[in-house]
């Protein structure tokens, strides 16, 4: 039996502007993210003179896209592409850094065309590593795996989201850790599934 929202956030005096567990706007993403890796390290790598490819690897719902969007906030003038079934085009521009979500949407041959643009750095998300492609293209790359979950990170994420939509002081938000453990036991490290569950549970509770 999964815990209801009331048993996860124990404060009863929080006034919410809206459901804390939906999508996050670009403006708010840095206030919500609990970085799995230090963003500063990535920023340094991308600001280096040597172009590089950063790949975020992991199954769906593990936070790859959220980290990509958050990192892009520091490079807002650079292009970002969210590839899906409809939109799979990368414009031929002279961007120094290109952010691409779901790189596997592009056929391999077109990916090589990208990697051969040696002056361009890329930050990509992918379900399966593209290391062989980078090696064949003789590109510098760093790979970051998105798997596993820490209860303390989950608590931070939930508190940040509640604070964002309520202005309730973050340090006063009481989170039931035993409930979080139950969620992790059920959903494993699938953040998206946990947030979807919390979204529905919050909706049910607030009615």
């Amino acid at each position: 039996m999964l815990p209801e929202y009331n048993n996860i956030i124990l404060n009863r005096d929080i006034v919410y502007d809206f459901n804390p567990f939906g999508g996050i706007t670009e403006e708010d993403i840095l206030d919500c993210i609990v970085p799995k890796y230090p963003l500063e390290e990535w920023i340094k790598l991308l600001n280096n003179d040597q172009p590089i490819i950063l790949q975020f690897v992991g199954k769906k719902g593990r936070g790859k896209t959220t980290h990509l969007r958050a990192l892009h906030q520091y490079f807002q003038e650079q292009d970002i592409y969210f590839l899906d079934r409809i939109d799979r085009k990368i414009a031929k521009k002279n961007s120094e850094i290109v952010f691409i979500d779901s790189i596997e949407r592009i056929p391999a041959i077109k990916r090589y065309v990208l990697w051969f643009r040696k002056k361009t750095s890329y930050v990509i998300t992918t379900h399966q590593t593209k290391t062989i492609e980078f090696q064949r293209s003789k590109r510098n790359y760093c790979s970051f795996s998105f798997e596993g979950i820490q209860i303390s990170s989950l608590k931070d994420i939930i508190s940040s989201r509640v604070h964002l939509v309520s202005n309730f002081p973050k340090e006063k938000i009481e989170v039931n850790m035993a409930s979080l453990e139950k969620l992790v036991l059920h959903f494993d490290d699938d953040f998206r599934a946990i947030l979807n569950y919390l979204y529905d549970s919050f909706k049910k509770t607030s009615k």
Partner: protein, 343 residues
């Protein structure tokens, strides 16, 4: 204090009717600032914005911006008041649904001077980890105040329009026959692979579906749908069939209001839908005329108007469910546009 927001108290005193602002009305009030330290600002803006926040995505839309103040230094302990005034648009209104919400805000955005930023960083934030600085210290002080844009005195406003539902029932037959011809040609050329069977089955499926469609909805030809408002609570629906209606056993007409949120993340694309209203169903048995007139009623309570923003949508959808004499069934769905007028 570990975030820039902690250096300034911001309060709102707005003229609202029981907390609500009427769509199309003027929102007026005061913003009251109380600095907890001496702070210099290069610019202070007030935005009227709404956030469409769904289970999947959230998007912010700034509707109007008022510059509250520029190049000011505020002293600790003083109170600074500024008037703001915004014309609220008629749409969209505040809405809280199952898969999406529309939330209106007044958002204050204060941009401190470089001198203030470096002083605050030096005096207060030096002990905070770099990660925290990135998270909380983006160089701006922001504050949001939720406002409810809604009126209890509204009438539904139907966009008068005509739609033609084209009948493509012969399309699948043609596609099926074309595939079948290719498969047969390949067969005689010696290609007997497993794919020939798969394509052969697919061709039969297309032809079968085409015959099924042609024997029912294909008999009707194109369908012309006309929508006209009748009065505050009713609207008219004119249905014109191009060919004859003899094959129809009965028609059921109704409409639904559906929340649609599309998720295109990652490798799967799917749409979350939630029907929030279904109208009463009007049933017509064995219609003789090619021209039908039906009157439908708007919902008796408040439901949001048609709305679309990024991948979030509130869709009013007209349904024409047709049962044919040969026990086949077809349902035509067409989006219609309905807004509100504040009376």
């Amino acid at each position: 204090m570990n975030a820039l927001n902690d250096f300034l108290d911001i309060n709102y005193s707005l003229e609202t009717a029981n907390g609500f602002v009427l769509p199309g009305d003027l929102l007026q009030g005061k913003i009251i600032f109380q600095p907890k330290d001496t702070i210099g600002f290069s610019e202070i803006n007030c935005h009227l914005n709404y956030v469409v926040t769904g289970k999947i995505h959230s998007k912010n839309k700034i509707v109007a911006t008022q510059i509250v103040s520029t190049d000011r230094v505020w002293s600790k302990g003083n109170i600074y008041e500024f008037d703001v005034q915004f014309k609220i648009p008629k749409e969209p209104k505040s809405y809280s649904g199952t898969n999406l919400e529309i939330v209106w805000f007044l958002t204050i955005e204060c941009i401190p001077t470089d001198e203030t930023i470096s002083r605050i960083r030096l005096d207060y934030l030096k002990d905070i980890k770099l990660k925290m600085l990135f998270n909380t210290y983006n160089g701006k002080i922001t504050s949001k105040h939720k406002i409810q844009v809604y009126s209890e005195n509204y009438i539904y406003d139907l966009h008068q329009e005509t739609k033609t539902v084209r009948n493509y029932s012969t399309g699948p037959i043609i596609i099926g026959l074309a595939i079948l011809a290719i498969v047969i040609a390949c067969y005689f050329m010696g290609w007997h692979g497993v794919f020939s069977y798969i394509f052969g089955i697919a061709a039969c499926f297309f032809i079968g579906y085409g015959i099924y469609a042609y024997s029912s909805i294909g008999q009707l030809g194109n369908v012309l749908i006309g929508l006209t408002p009748y009065d505050e609570s009713l609207f008219n629906l004119d249905i014109n069939f191009e060919k004859n209606t003899k094959s129809i056993e009965y028609i059921q007409v109704f409409y639904t209001i559906v929340e649609e949120v599309e998720d295109r993340r990652g490798t799967d694309t799917y749409t979350l839908t939630k029907t929030i209203y279904t109208s009463e169903k009007e049933k017509l048995k064995k219609p003789i005329s090619k021209h039908l007139e039906i009157t439908l009623q708007f919902p008796k309570s408040y439901f949001p108007g048609s709305f679309e923003f990024a991948t979030e949508k509130i869709n009013w959808q007209l349904h024409l469910a047709i049962e044919f004499n040969n026990n086949t069934h077809f349902e035509v769905k067409e989006s219609i546009t309905v807004k509100h007028i504040v009376s």
